[in-house]
Symmetry: C2
Subunit: 429 residues, 2 copies
């Protein structure tokens, strides 16, 4: 960085709805990472960005500056193309688990760097850590070898990728500046681009259980991220998908692994199968293998084989018995009728409170905790039938979980139909 | 503080253009003063306030919360009414020096807590410290006694008044959040209200040399401050006054003391005399002595007597020779004509660079440094005549001072007239 700027000038530019220059953006990200721009200056700038926005050039430069703050991975020496998927997070969203081995089984390598959960959405690593022996940490060399041998890796992102984003995200979390589309988009995309994937499919969730509560905001976020990926030479598409209702019939770590294995075995809930196949098709197409039908790999067991190889390669036993929570509590249907609503956020908060998630980064999670759903919207239910089963090792948690489930479902007279968005709402490319 | 809030919730409320509740405001100011709300949270909130505003109730509550963070002075036991003046700061603004003793000579006590200068506007204490022996620091008891005996005190504000404002102002200074009218108004008024004056006259400067560059912003700031004073039971009026051109013929510490003494002796530049009398009349009226004409006290020497008594009471020698800078440099008129412009900001920056002001709080100032003006807009000048004399102890400063003076004046053909705002633009009460 040869040119130097003044933090207050940068803030005042954005405060006045001005455009930040490339030099200002490069400098402020680098200086913040080095500690030469203080937290209180960056948070004030983040608020100005949240309220006054950034244009495509600014967001693209901001993303690049965050990428340049750290190392960049490169999978171009692999013998097959790469494709990655990123979900903006939802309740019961275990799609990465069946999807990565499925796409690998179709000939495209999946280098999936994932995170742990915070709040009501589960983390992919937390889910896989429910499998006895499975390890999230890998060196770049191990990752490369596994991608060549097995075709899929799901592991923890190293500290070297986009350290500016790590610092900025922690700051935004405590300063009311998370909900800025330019900052959300650049945060996600800086990590995904630094990761070096050739193609990327973004699953942008919409609804109560998602970060984006309405289609318009989700569309803007998706469009911004697709533009960023495209500008960086990554073939990127985004799907807006429904998160008004939890995905599948489980929310919780071991519970979701079990359901993912059911899908890989050719069964599992319809919505999980549908979304897994839809995202697999997009990943294959983006990686230049649009001719391959992933449904075949699911049916003939190749996806399951890839799953087992992937789990074993990271120390896990794919055939081991999964942890089960010590205590359960059943929620029964209070009336006959049609289940028309099952709120994703409320179910997610219940699973979190039962021990499946964490409130602070350093908290442990319970492998067996979570919520099992016995019916999804559209189903006919009878009074007294099981609707939900709550799982936890610590039964004192039932009370607060039940509180969060108040008003979480609606049973309407027979003949009613749920009024929900489709599972796949639209595609942006 | 019994109720507790979450800093992120408070930030998100204001970010979304919501109104902060009384409880939120009381909590956030108290928690920030205690360190329970972090700098990076307060700066993000300050930016949200700057961009989304606060209503009258919020500003009033915010001001009160800052007052309540410290001690409050009380002059109600004095035998005479009190009135104070506050200027938002300008170049050559020495008005406090003749004004305080003049108003005291008319029977109204003036408890003037002042500050030191930062940037291009001079500080009242820096000016008075040019007088040999004069001391700015006083205890509350000394202040009380001097108000009773002499009628006027100009001294440094103690650390006990509105400590929340002190902390917040330092934060705003480095986070691009100074220019928020609700925050400027509450910063000024929290100190003035805590100071315990019964009446207050605000001199809100407008023009290049002032903080407010246009009449609309100045009017909004003045109106906000008058409302705050009124809500707090302080009889408050504001005058919008011209700061396109420096006040008087000097900008610099000892130079301005000399000019102030000329005014007290019945002479001095017309604009300084006019503004001193206009503000004195407002202070007397606000303190219930609207029947007294301050011009009499200036003419008959009572104001000068009060000045000498005030300076002596604080250890100064009013008859001592004032410091003179070691070096001078003259700027000559380049052409014949009428001086139509003399930019306040440029002259202020030159005086600052010559050593009259400081860039950081801990910097020293030169007593003798500054800019002396030999003509003001409207005057006819001849090529080669002295226009400005620059004074400094450190001649290496002339170069940068001269740079800042580039384009500072305009000489137009004879018969031209300056296009300037009147000295007193309007009154808001």
């Amino acid at each position: 960085m040869s040119e130097s700027f003044d933090a207050v000038d940068v803030i005042i530019t954005k405060r006045g709805r001005g455009e930040l220059s490339d030099g200002q953006i490069d400098w402020v990200i680098d200086a913040y990472t080095r500690g030469a721009v203080a937290d209180e200056q960056m948070s004030s700038l983040a608020m100005a960005i949240l309220l006054n926005g950034m244009n495509r050039r600014e967001i693209s430069r901001w993303t690049n500056a965050m990428i340049n703050s750290g190392e960049r991975m490169d999978f171009s020496s692999l013998s097959r193309p790469t494709a990655d998927k990123h979900s903006t997070g939802g309740v019961g969203d275990k799609i990465t688990l069946p999807l990565a081995p499925l796409v690998a089984a179709c000939g495209v390598a999946v280098p999936q760097l994932s995170g742990r959960g915070l709040g009501h959405t589960g983390g992919t690593l937390d889910k896989l850590e429910a499998i006895p022996g499975w390890q999230a940490a890998m060196s770049n060399e191990q990752m490369m070898r596994q991608l060549e041998d097995v075709g899929a890796v799901i592991c923890a992102a190293g500290d070297g990728l986009a350290p500016a984003d790590k610092k900025l995200y922690a700051l935004r979390d405590v300063t009311g500046t998370v909900e800025a589309i330019p900052l959300i988009a650049s945060s996600i995309m800086s990590k995904k681009i630094a990761e070096g994937t050739g193609a990327l499919v973004l699953d942008v969730k919409v609804g109560s259980g998602a970060f984006m509560k309405n289609v318009e905001d989700a569309r803007e976020l998706a469009r911004t991220m697709v533009d960023l990926g495209t500008d960086a030479g990554v073939r990127t598409v985004a799907m807006l998908t429904n998160m008004q209702v939890p995905l599948g019939l489980t929310a919780g770590n071991a519970l979701e692994v079990r359901e993912s294995v059911e899908v890989l075995a050719g069964g599992g809930p319809e919505d999980v199968v549908e979304l897994t196949l839809a995202l697999a098709r997009e990943m294959l197409a983006a990686a230049g293998r649009g001719d391959v039908d992933p449904a075949d790999a699911l049916e003939d067991g190749r996806a399951m084989d890839a799953w087992k190889a992937m789990i074993r390669a990271q120390g896990g036993d794919p055939d081991a018995t999964l942890p089960v929570a010590r205590e359960t509590h059943e929620v029964l249907a209070p009336a006959d009728g049609v289940l028309t609503e099952l709120d994703a956020l409320k179910v997610g908060v219940a699973a979190w409170r039962l021990g499946a998630g964490r409130a602070r980064k350093e908290d442990p999670v319970q492998a067996g905790a979570g919520v099992e759903m016995h019916a999804k919207p559209g189903a006919t239910v009878r009074a007294g039938e099981k609707l939900l089963t709550l799982h936890t090792d610590t039964p004192e948690r039932f009370e607060r979980a039940l509180e969060s489930l108040e008003g979480s479902f609606t049973i309407a007279p027979e003949g009613s139909r749920p009024d929900l968005l489709p599972l796949v709402i639209e595609k942006i490319s």
